[in-house]
């Protein structure tokens, strides 16, 4: 099999961009931030991150950014993930296995409901004081 060249990658990128521009342009940005420090990696954050990418692709969601940072300091609850999006409080979820990642996409991002039993930080105050 001939492997993909940078030129082919550039073409794919341009095709994708056209498709994206045709979709809802004022779609607001959603950020998923995955803690990838030592403890995160040890607890399987790599698989969690990949699960988010797959699930977002499968659901055809656009304007989602998945970012990698170091530890959130909640090492006992790794893998940890922060979700920031319009109309929802900022939440740090803990013990986010690939299954839970899928739940977060379906329930939190699409359904706009918090995912039970996995909220580890930024709870009530933010719910009252909506951004």
């Amino acid at each position: 099999m001939a492997k993909m060249t940078l030129e082919q990658l550039r073409k794919l990128r341009e095709e994708k961009k056209k498709q994206l521009d045709m979709r809802d342009p004022d779609n607001k940005q959603i950020h998923i931030v995955v803690g990838m420090g030592t403890s995160g990696i040890a607890a399987g954050a790599k698989d969690t991150l990949d699960a988010f990418l797959r699930c977002i692709e499968n659901r055809g969601l656009t304007n989602v950014a998945v970012r990698q940072v170091g530890s959130f300091g909640l090492d006992y609850a790794e893998p940890t993930v922060e979700v920031v999006m319009p109309d929802m409080p900022r939440v740090i979820y803990g013990k986010v296995t690939p299954d839970v990642a899928e739940k977060i996409v379906l329930e939190h991002i699409i359904g706009k409901k918090l995912v039970e039993n996995h909220v580890y930080d930024r709870p009530a105050a933010d719910i009252v004081d909506k951004e």
Partner: protein, 180 residues
């Protein structure tokens, strides 16, 4: 502990980025042994800091003030000594650091190699401005190179999911050529 050898790719890259490096050179080779070497232009360590870096309770105190944790290199040196591999850290203050290790792939205690493509994609995707040049040699002897800057100039921001997925398939194609 880390589950796979590819986890250490992320571990080392993150260490370098947090040490202020923006020019990283990574070699990954599988030839009976799994060999990995990461050299960077980060702030480096003095001889004393270098020795303490292997202490699981040492960190520079900047990221976690008043806490004594820093398991990254300690995990790596523990894994390497368990399987009788080689491990070295060469570093000079303000001169950067070069970490390398080699472990036998036939030792029962050697962790599985893991998903190299995914680890490379994630090593490219940290929120910093940096070059990461990768030289990868596959078990078949086939080799390829990747430059983060070059790919980023084509794709743009890797945190955008569409770009991350394109990056993923690009790396997977290079890695697939390993088996042909």
């Amino acid at each position: 502990m880390h589950y796979s050898l590819s986890d250490f790719i992320l571990e080392l890259v993150q260490n370098s980025l947090e040490a202020g490096a923006n020019d990283l050179h990574l070699i990954i080779k599988e030839e009976g042994h799994f060999f990995m070497q990461l050299s960077d232009n980060g702030k480096g360590m003095t001889e004393e800091e270098k020795n303490r870096a292997l202490d699981p309770f040492f960190t520079d105190g900047i990221k976690h003030p008043n806490r004594r944790v820093g398991l990254g290199l300690a995990f790596l040196s523990q894994m390497v000594s368990q399987v009788q591999g080689d491990f070295s850290v060469i570093s000079g203050k303000n001169k950067g650091t070069c970490v390398s290790f080699s472990v036998p792939l036939d030792n029962v205690d050697t962790p599985p190699v893991g998903d190299i493509s995914s680890a490379i994609r994630q090593a490219f995707s940290y929120d910093y401005d940096y070059e990461l040049f990768i030289e990868r040699t596959c078990p078949s002897g086939y080799s390829y190179t990747l430059s983060r800057r070059e790919i980023a100039s084509v794709l743009g921001d890797f945190s955008i999911v569409e770009n991350a997925l394109l990056l993923d398939s690009f790396i997977r194609e290079q890695e697939a050529s390993c088996n042909t």
